[in-house]
Symmetry: C2
Subunit: 173 residues, 2 copies
């Protein structure tokens, strides 16, 4: 090793934000029913696989979000993956709450509101949640899925903007 | 809502895998020192921001991985974001362990091995870990960062292959 290290001149939240602006993430829309049985949903960039045996998903959620009180262990969620031509869905579920459910949703498993324009929908049951400072990691057991179409061009988030996927560089099978 | 739900004909790990094949993820290389002070590193597709106040990162790791015993609370890690022209780094740190550190690394904060071709490096300290079945969610406090260059074209993982980022579709400021 050499010692000419680059300058680590950013700290704390500035450090986190700068590094993660250079890191892409996939975009999904999470829907569920609130405790009164009404549909809720939001755009997420934190859905991540947590192993396939058993199949689990982790989802990072702010405890201050309006959805968080309804994401309780034992309750169900639908994770919708989005193609790049579904930018409008990502924007809709990140926008004004009154405009998120506009009547085009379908009644899915466990009564979950399903957005049929998604590229696939994964139904999961919340197993537990870990609260860490003002956020939480929600652990979800994957139950069933429907793949609406293939091939897909997923929606990607990077540098505070939505992007399409680009060229395939190499397989990793 | 209407009732013509799509068929949820996949279950368990097949369901998880099918949905996440349609979901993009960013690629990073995580480096650390093992308990003997030797460099270790691996390619990850699970690094996710967990809020910026305080700045935290979650990282999903298989407990069976060779790195896992060294990812203990109180220890430091370096998260490297990768551009699409750094495909070789993603492949190197996903490949044979003997070929991961080839002498081009730099001695960074806390003695961490830093890969200078990364687009940015975030230094973090492991806060805690939650073990769930055969995997774990590792929670990391973000400390400092160095951004090597901008603009960047991040490396994205999708459909079991590495991709470049594509067209910008819309800002989300």
């Amino acid at each position: 090793m050499t010692n000419n290290s680059p300058a680590f001149d950013l700290s704390g939240s500035d450090a986190l934000k700068a590094a993660f602006r250079n890191h892409a993430s996939g975009i999904s829309v999470i829907t569920a029913l609130d405790l009164d049985g009404n549909p809720i949903g939001f755009t997420a960039s934190s859905a991540t696989s947590l192993g396939s045996n058993p199949p689990l998903v982790s989802l990072n959620v702010a405890q201050g979000s309006s959805s968080y009180p309804h994401l309780l262990p034992g309750r169900f969620v639908a994770l919708h993956t989005l193609d790049s031509d579904s930018l409008h869905l990502a924007q809709r579920f990140a926008g004004d709450k009154a405009g998120r459910f506009v009547g085009d949703e379908i009644d899915g498993p466990e009564g979950l509101p399903i957005i049929p324009q998604a590229s696939s929908v994964l139904i999961g049951k919340i197993r537990e949640k870990y609260e860490i400072e003002s956020n939480a990691v929600v652990i979800i057991d994957a139950l069933t899925a429907s793949v609406m179409r293939t091939p897909q061009e997923p929606l990607v988030y990077f540098q505070r903007a939505y992007h399409a996927i680009g060229n395939k560089l190499a397989d990793n099978d």
